[in-house]
Symmetry: C2
Subunit: 340 residues, 2 copies
């Protein structure tokens, strides 16, 4: 019998392969697999739905991830996908599986984080499933949000000359993870050495307790800015902008010097012998928003300190490029996180 290794397809190739025969039967399905979330037309208005799975040993390491933060993050990353559609989050369901090494107190701590995130994002936890796991902790969250009048934003409508924007700062979560991994190695070698995480709150916070940019979505709505395309940055800017370019059939130019990188990220990157740019491009897990707007919205967008204009959309034949601080042009490639 034939055996094709999953690695040979890659994550996106695998999804493509598995969904190539996916049929749409319901007239209410406005948007299916292939964006940050799906859109269902419920009785003339729209619900937006997304789901994410987090698995111990793959997505998190409980040696340095407090359970409360993990609970918060499990909600936040799903809310982030709703934000990426310009939807208003409303409900979540959460399934968890855990082995008997977890106590009720441990689960309480996890749910404390879940409820804190529900409170922060104004969502109701309305269902779920709890089961035993033969190994490790497994979390699956589905988040539901709302949009009216089909005002959701997909990845496939970026236009030539649109400005490319990113929220917050990039690369910090990646550096935070490197830092936690380093401290873990040091601790395992010599448990007497206490971790040195002073003045590293920003990068640690970005990996352990990311926030969904509901604030930016609200700001865009208040200022009547409708992005032409949007997604959240989870695999790394480089990989994610390529999704927008491919799905919109356009090219792009990103300016290295415009990338929003926090000072802590730059300093720590140096310590690790990495460039801040590389962390920002390929790091992933930022949960910031990446979107495109018409040039006519430039005057409005510069008023927000939360948003950086990092480049612009080009014709598809111009390719996808990074302009370095020295003015050199490099082809952008997806070096982001690969699950397989």
């Amino acid at each position: 019998m034939e055996r094709t290794e999953i690695e040979s397809l890659g994550e996106f190739g695998l999804i493509q392969h598995l969904t190539q025969n996916n049929e749409t039967r319901q007239a209410s399905t406005m948007l299916s697999v292939g964006d940050d979330a799906a859109v269902i037309d419920h009785f003339g208005k729209q619900t937006v739905i997304t789901t994410d799975m987090l698995i111990e040993g793959i997505h998190f390491d409980l040696m340095y991830t407090p359970l409360k933060h993990l609970g918060y993050k499990a909600v936040a990353v799903n809310v982030s996908d709703l934000c990426a559609m310009m939807a208003t989050p409303s409900h979540i369901t959460m399934s968890v599986a855990f082995s008997n090494r977890f106590s009720v107190e441990a689960l309480d701590e996890f749910y404390e984080g879940v409820y804190a995130a529900c409170d922060k994002y104004n969502v109701d936890l309305v269902g779920g499933d709890t089961c035993t796991s033969p190994k490790g902790f497994i979390i699956s969250v589905t988040a539901v949000g709302e949009v009216t009048n089909s005002h959701y934003v997909t990845r496939d409508k970026a236009q030539v000359n649109d400005l490319i924007c990113a929220t917050g700062d990039l690369g910090a979560a990646y550096i935070g993870l490197q830092l936690l991994e380093r401290e873990k190695r040091i601790f395992l070698e010599n448990p007497k050495i206490q971790p040195d995480l002073q003045q590293k709150e920003h990068v640690i916070g970005k990996i352990l307790k990311p926030e969904a940019r509901v604030d930016v979505v609200e700001w865009l709505q208040e200022n009547k800015i409708v992005p032409t395309s949007m997604m959240d940055i989870s695999d790394g800017l480089s990989s994610d902008i390529l999704h927008i370019c491919r799905q919109s059939n356009v090219g792009c130019v990103i300016y290295d010097e415009k990338l929003p990188i926090h000072n802590q990220t730059k300093e720590m990157a140096m310590e690790f012998g990495l460039s801040g740019t590389s962390c920002a491009l390929n790091g992933g897990e930022d949960y910031e928003l990446l979107f495109t707007i018409p040039q006519s919205d430039y005057e409005k967008i510069v008023l927000s300190e939360k948003i950086s204009v990092i480049g612009y959309i080009t014709k598809p034949e111009d390719g996808t490029n990074l302009i370095t601080q020295q003015g050199n042009k490099h082809k952008l490639v997806a070096q982001g996180w690969q699950a397989f």
Copy 2:
């Protein structure tokens, strides 16, 4: 630090514990944790949402579960929860995690079952997540359905003197599982012996490829029968009727002789030294519907061969009882499946 073992609470105790501080913020939340599914009021009509997780080694054994059947079942058990609310299924999301022992061909087989179920139940697969798992195969499905005019059925409105009804036949999935487990043991001891599953299609089918009773929901709707309470039988009739009794604050009488048990189930139960009644009461995984109707609907309900009247609802102080074929009264207890 205090450590409370999860076993000490039991599954329902744990859910109760973890959700005791769950707040409702959204006016649209009509029904939250505690029923087969949640109900969200979306713009004046209602969406119903439910989620379930299936884990290799806990919920299924790939040694005797064909991946195609597993894919089908993962969808069917979620659709069953929607049926238990009298909702019409419309959409699902599906997250899967798998280790590198799975090939693309294996996943294809799994998804063949998923798509077959989507076709059967007329639902769209609109999203999901794929990731690596350090061990085994993990599936998480969320299903969305619709009801109009708040015509969903919960577990908490059974009335004294209501008739208790069950669909299909009970206990078959449990016997099917015993049979597969026996054949597995025999095979492990002597791989040359071929499994003898002739004329056991019914019990094997019920465990490997259960169907959600969409047909019964449609029949009830066509015949304008509105159950006062309903749930699906997943943990075993005995455990599940106790949910209805507790949540409706009523008692019940179930007649042993009225329990719908397939001949194959009876015969195989005997072979295993079990009573068919015990399988029907405590087996679980039936995915049949359990519901209560006013006595005035009796004339209508007897017209359906798919539905059996198995008892009636009593005052709470009368307790929850089984009347044996000899006329003796036994207290019903939840011996159903316990995840912990």
